[in-house]
């Protein structure tokens, strides 16, 4: 890793943006949380376990975790039309896959746990912020979990790996351009989600995964602290 690489916002290559986390932001929900990386702000709310409708989707073996990811129309500079899109449908499923390994869903056969993730303000890494918020909301709802997950996006700008890419970096055009690698880890170090867009060698990808592992440890601490101090106790 070249030491002289300067990130546009002055961060070190392995430095995350300032993180903020809050638990209990939606009083109506059974569990809720806010998580932010700099200007990227996500909130998540959990409803359930509850009766699963439509009935034909029930699973008698174990419960169902149902995540929805949605961006507010004004969360980005160029307004997006409200409502689901192909992109948000995919990220919803990715969020489910990232969380399922730690949620003890087998305790709730025939039932559903709804996790709603909304992006209030976007500056890249929205799915990672969403997953972090969702994990906290599930824990806040008291859903039995084996572990908590933490998510971060690793970027490759030209040849340089960096942690927690922002929008400016995501659009990197110099040299080899930008490669975006969102990764989710459990606190015990299991990988539950990885995606990649761009171009990278397998050697460097291994480095990226190591970087993500270290970064998620820091994220975990922020999540843990927030869970210890929820905003409101009563529902």
């Amino acid at each position: 890793m070249t030491k002289e690489f300067k990130r546009p916002d002055g961060r070190k290559v392995d430095e995350l943006r300032e993180m903020k986390a809050k638990v209990g932001v939606v009083p109506n929900a059974d569990g809720s949380a806010m998580f932010s990386f700099g200007d990227t702000v996500a909130i998540a709310a959990v409803y359930g376990p509850k009766e699963h409708h439509p009935r034909n989707q029930r699973n008698p073996e174990e419960g169902t975790l149902r995540c929805t990811y949605n961006m507010l129309s004004f969360s980005v500079t160029d307004r997006i039309r409200p409502g689901p899109s192909r992109r948000s449908t995919e990220i919803s499923k990715i969020t489910e896959w990232a969380l399922e390994p730690v949620v003890m869903i087998e305790k709730y056969p025939n039932m559903v746990i709804d996790v709603h993730v909304n992006i209030l303000q976007a500056n890249a890494s929205t799915r990672c912020a969403g997953i972090n918020a969702a994990a906290m909301a599930l824990a806040h709802a008291g859903i039995p979990m084996k572990d908590i997950v933490s998510s971060v996006s690793i970027g490759k700008l030209d040849k340089q790996l960096v942690v927690d890419v922002n929008k400016y970096e995501e659009d990197w055009e110099e040299g080899e351009g930008a490669t975006d690698i969102p990764i989710t880890f459990t606190n015990s170090g299991e990988l539950t989600h990885i995606q990649l867009d761009g171009k990278i060698t397998s050697k460097q990808l291994k480095e990226a995964i190591e970087l993500a592992r270290e970064a998620t440890k820091k994220i975990y601490e922020v999540q843990k602290e927030a869970l210890k101090n929820p905003l409101r106790e009563e529902k």
């Binding site: 939606v26 009083p27 949605n70 507010l72 689901p84 709603h116």
Partner: protein, 265 residues
């Protein structure tokens, strides 16, 4: 999940004695909090809380063609989404009636009061005008989303700055805001909803109160002049009741205007 009959009867009994579960008077609002500039990528934004009810409103703008019947006027579009995040009652899927009505009632409240000077939003007559998008999202529904959204829309509009426009290439430079605000009237239009629960008239209902409300009237007015109105739900009102509602609205509009003044300095 709906409020039970038992609770409903109790609420009505309390109201008939002039009392409410949360100790408010019948004509009293919950604590109002308005925060503006809450979303960096929006042209303007506001977070409004009425007690536990919370909405987020954002303004986005874009350049488009004017409608043929108003070639020299800008456009406005109000969209409301009742996020499933904000209540166990809201589901994913295309907007249902409550969300559509919410958007339309807020739309008329602003449009009919002439709060926005649409003529000043014209760039080139018949070809290019600004469209103002007002997007409303519920974050926590504890009743009276209508009035919260109304306040939010006003606050977000006042907070907004028009994006920079590259006239040569006819392109909007999203993310770069000019110093110009949206041209707005001085008088703030306030949208207020009066509910009839049992024989009592109340304002700012909680979720439970709203559930058992038999009929409601939303009135948009500024400085005593009414510019929009909508009666909701199927119960009828007598003429005396309607006139009571109008008197009440006038009184409360003044109170609310005073209360929110400090947020709009």
């Amino acid at each position: 999940m709906m409020t039970s009959n038992l609770t409903g009867e109790r609420i009505k009994k309390y109201l008939s004695e002039g009392k409410r579960f949360d100790n408010r008077k019948l004509e009293e609002f919950r604590e109002i909090s308005i925060e503006t500039g809450v979303s960096k990528n929006a042209e303007g934004s506001a977070r409004v809380k009425l007690g536990k009810t919370e909405v987020l409103v954002g303004i986005k703008m874009n350049v488009s063609e004017p409608y043929s019947d108003s070639p020299d006027k800008g456009n406005m579009m109000v969209t409301a989404e009742l996020l499933p995040l904000s209540s166990p009652r809201f589901e994913n899927g295309p907007p249902k009636f409550p969300a559509i009505e919410l958007g339309r009632v807020i739309d008329r409240g602003i449009r009919e009061s002439k709060f926005i000077d649409f003529e000043k939003l014209c760039i080139k007559k018949g070809e290019k005008v600004w469209t103002v998008f007002i997007d409303i999202y519920s974050i926590n529904d504890d009743g009276n989303l209508l009035d919260a959204a109304g306040l939010g829309a006003i606050a977000a509009l006042k907070n907004a700055k028009i994006p920079k426009y590259d006239e040569k290439n006819e392109k909007v430079l999203f993310g770069e805001l000019s110093k110009d605000s949206i041209p707005l009237a001085k008088e703030i239009p306030i949208s207020l909803t009066i509910h009839k629960v049992g024989d009592s008239l109340i304002v700012d209902p909680t979720r439970e109160e709203e559930d058992i409300s038999e009929t409601r009237v939303t009135i948009g007015s500024s400085n005593g002049v009414i510019s929009s109105m909508q009666k909701g739900n199927s119960k009828s009102l007598s003429v005396e009741e309607m006139s009571k509602i109008l008197d009440l609205t006038e009184k409360i509009e003044k109170e609310i205007s005073k209360k929110i003044e400090r947020f709009f300095k």
